[in-house]
Symmetry: C2
Subunit: 204 residues, 2 copies
Amino acid sequence: MGVRAQQKEKTRRALVDAAFNQLSAERSFSSLSLREVAREANIAPTSFYRHFKDMNELGLTMVDEGGLALRQMMRKGRQRAEAGGSVIRISVDTFMEVLDSNPNVFRILLHERSGTSAPFRAAVAREIEHFISELAHYTEEKAHRNPELARAQAEAMVTLVFNAGAAALDMKKSERKVLADQLVMQLRMVAKGAEVLHQKVDNR
Amino acid sequence: MGVRAQQKEKTRRALVDAAFNQLSAERSFSSLSLREVAREANIAPTSFYRHFKDMNELGLTMVDEGGLALRQMMRKGRQRAEAGGSVIRISVDTFMEVLDSNPNVFRILLHERSGTSAPFRAAVAREIEHFISELAHYTEEKAHRNPELARAQAEAMVTLVFNAGAAALDMKKSERKVLADQLVMQLRMVAKGAEVLHQKVDNR
DNA sequence: TAAATTAGCTTACAGCTGTACGCTTAACGC
DNA sequence: GCGTTAAGCGTACAGCTGTAAGCTAATTTA
């Protein structure tokens, strides 16, 4: 890669990082201005356009990066779970750890999920869909559920996990522990309930 | 009430209504400006301050009104359920009906739940808490669950309902039907699962 | 090596924002 | 009836926004 392309990439990263760094419980992506981001990245406002068409394009890039981080997390969790132990417990713990180390990645996903930009919502939905379908596939195989039931179960579980994630973002570690325990309990409810429904439908 | 107070109340309502009317899938409360709201309500921007200290105060008023609408809905649903039939099914249908007739009330609640203003999040949390504790109390009584389990169950159910509500906001009627059916299925999972966990803990 | 490309800069502008200040006018309390 | 109160208005201003236009200087290409 040439010197020029390298420098361009570096500045682009500076912009993305600047945007991530400005996110917090009090500051959503949509409240950031192009000028603020450029300022934080130490470039002139108008230079922003050399990298992104507008703030939306930056935001979608961030959502995609966030999604990538999520998928990497899933793999990590699955690996750990293979060593034995409660899959639910291990997954929840992994989720909480990643949430703790990348809070702003989650902020943009959790906030824009119910945001006002349709492309954003679609992008987040796409990322969450990865979660759901992988989990549904997993349950379908391991527990021999029928597809429809597996899908509903997976969706419910992912919903509960993400909702807990949103709540956890503003919590201290001790509060998070309680939350995690309750989440595990809720996930077990769903799992048990799905089992019962499954037996009913298949009449055995 | 005097002529003066009456007129003031009327203008205040015009402001609240103007703000509600400007909400949509593409427009969140936090993206509204004081001037826009004043314009829509046909008053001068500076007159806004005769009624609210700032936009935040307006927003909190709206959240409170939304919460009120929710609680009225709950009562309506409970009355219907008393006439017999599946409590879950009836509650979901009621919820969807109210969602359909007051979409913007839900928009502000659903969006500000994960918003950037702490007072807003707290206000929404308070409203949702009403839901959870009433439901927990109901289950504790009807199904003789222990408090901790009842609480976790209620929280899970409310989470699932609100999440489905957010998704339903941008859907056509036919899509909503599918969503509602899946939601019912998920709620039954949670209910069944809680039952099983309950029996386990109490060893009978 | 000369020409072309391009990341980043400075300057500039129109449009929006919240809100301070002071006025008018109609209802209120005495 | 008369002084007081207050809802609503118009004007004004500073500060922010996105972005258009054109320049500079360094890299790339031919």
